[in-house]
Amino acid sequence: MDQNILRIGCAAGFSGDRTDAAAPVVQALIAAGGPAFLIFETLAERTLALAQLARRADPEAGYEPLLPDLLRPVLADCLAHGVRIVSNFGAANPAGAARRIHALARELGLPAPRIAIVEGDDVSGPGHRPLLQAALGPALDGLDLVSANAYQGAEAIADALLAGADIVVCGRVADPSLAVGPALAHFGWARDDWTRLARATMAGHLLECGTQVTGGYYADPGYKDVPGMASLGYPIAEIDADGHCTITKPAGTGGRIDAHTVKEQLLYEVHDPAAYLTPDVVADITEAEVQELGPDRVRLSGVRGHARPATLKVNVCHATGWLAEGEISYAGARAEGRARLAAQVLRERLAGLGPLRADLIGVSSVFADDGGQWLDSLSDSGARDVRLRVAMNHRERSSAERLAREVTALYTCGPAGGGGVRTALRQRLGTVSCVLAREQAPTSFRFIEVAA
């Protein structure tokens, strides 16, 4: 085994990812030998606000609901073979997540793991309100605040690992920091070694969406073919002491890693490639190169780094009202014309409640603008199987509910042959962003001991 190569496998790219992902990754890490970590990324922009709402309803909730399903298949092997786990699955309640992992270890008859939680991201409490007020100004007034979280970096993760944690549970940390923390701890880089931090950051960036680098979200039959989509392998980054990485996946799994899958993921959610900002570093990929080393092995090089931003990004989520949606299908002769008439009926019935979006699923339902300019520009295409979908936002629940009633009423009051009405009502969350100085949202770790 090569002690100079650090392997980091990623077994989740979002909350709701496949729960059978981790086992092949852990088996591959164990087979490779050498130092290894397993990360799970489960926290999209709005996931944390939903977790905060869950915690309000149940003080022990608010962490990733699939946490036991993600860990149960691999926890014993990880602990037995020293594969340490780092994740943001703590969401709005890292301590609750840690207690749940202790309970899971007990259920499985395992020795108690050393579990650290990373804190400091939650800035929604009253103590932080004046800071948010100063940062956001009048934009904060009148907001029904649900969550406020600073994106923390890798340092507290590294510190927790250096203190002996088997598992590090975070809330909001920047996604790539889940990989940078283990690299920092393992290689002992200086915390201002911007070049190496940037390289590890881009390794984390390639890992953070799970199979999006191994052929997931890439396949397009006859154009971009990917084998084994039902059993995609999740990615493993082999990181060297300089931070360069090679992306690979467990043997025998489906998917594809080549220069093209890696380039697509490298640029995913990047804005200025000269300045990819994280709390750890400013990464620059303008000179980056990818090289195919062999089947399902691609090396990334040429990443450069600059000093980290002085401030931390904060996302503030707030309740904004309700999203109402309704659908009804039309099929057969003149179906599109009947669906268009139904949309017109709904516009008249719901006039005054705010903008109503109408889509003709099967004709145009995604590329169009909310204002309807695109759809209006298309003449009746003669489609014979069309599902009308309408959507509306409203601050008041009772007004939003009117959309559902009007769509349902199309059964008897609408055009001929409409069927399959479905309606949905969901609470909406808005986001505003600001920055805080690092000292206004300090981060740290602590161990959560097993309950007596």
């Binding site: 922009e45 709005r46 979200y217 890439y218 397009d220 006859g222 154009y223 971009k224 093209h260 380039k263 697509e264 993921q265 490298l266 640029l267 995913y268 959610e269 990047v270 804005h271 200025d272 490639p273 000269a274 990929i285 303008t286 000179e287 980056a288 190169e289 990818v290 040429g302 904004t320 999203l323 903008p355 979006r357 889509d359 339902s365 995604v366 590329f367 169009a368 603008d369 909310d370 300019q373 695109w374 520009s377 979908r389 959507a391 509306m392 936002n393 909406r428 969350l429 808005g430 986001t431 962003s433």
Partner: protein, 123 residues
């Protein structure tokens, strides 16, 4: 020499990402020899025109010659983004496919480098 008009997806592939009300779409050459065509034809103006109905406040092109890739950033193109848009695809995940329908002109010598079957022309 007569050029041939093909949709951009024959010469490049891409993926969309989103943050807030901002979309980024990568355009990655299928072959290094196709890169100069992309640089010349897949401009900020061409992309802005392709997305005119979504009324982007600004379209910015970043180029990465070593990857033969470019990254387009489209501001305020998501009708408010994942939290506000009424679009079924509030992330704008499908928007790379709209961009990749942009027609481009390819000289005959480069036609063998194009990817994929020659599917139906864009409507």
């Amino acid at each position: 020499m007569n050029t041939v008009t093909v949709p951009l997806y024959r010469a490049a592939h891409g993926r969309t990402g989103d943050k807030g009300n901002r979309s980024n779409i990568s355009v990655i050459a299928w072959h290094p020899a196709l890169w100069p065509l992309l640089l010349e034809q897949v401009t900020e103006a061409a992309v802005a025109a392709q997305f005119a109905h979504r009324q982007p406040a600004r379209v910015t092109r970043h180029v990465l010659p070593r990857l033969q890739a470019m990254n387009f950033v489209l501001d305020e193109v998501l009708d408010g983004g994942v939290n506000d848009a009424l679009n079924l695809d509030s992330h704008g995940k499908a928007l790379s496919f709209l961009l990749l329908e942009l027609p481009i002109q390819v000289p005959p010598a480069l036609l063998p480098l194009l990817a994929g079957p020659p599917l139906e022309p864009p409507h």
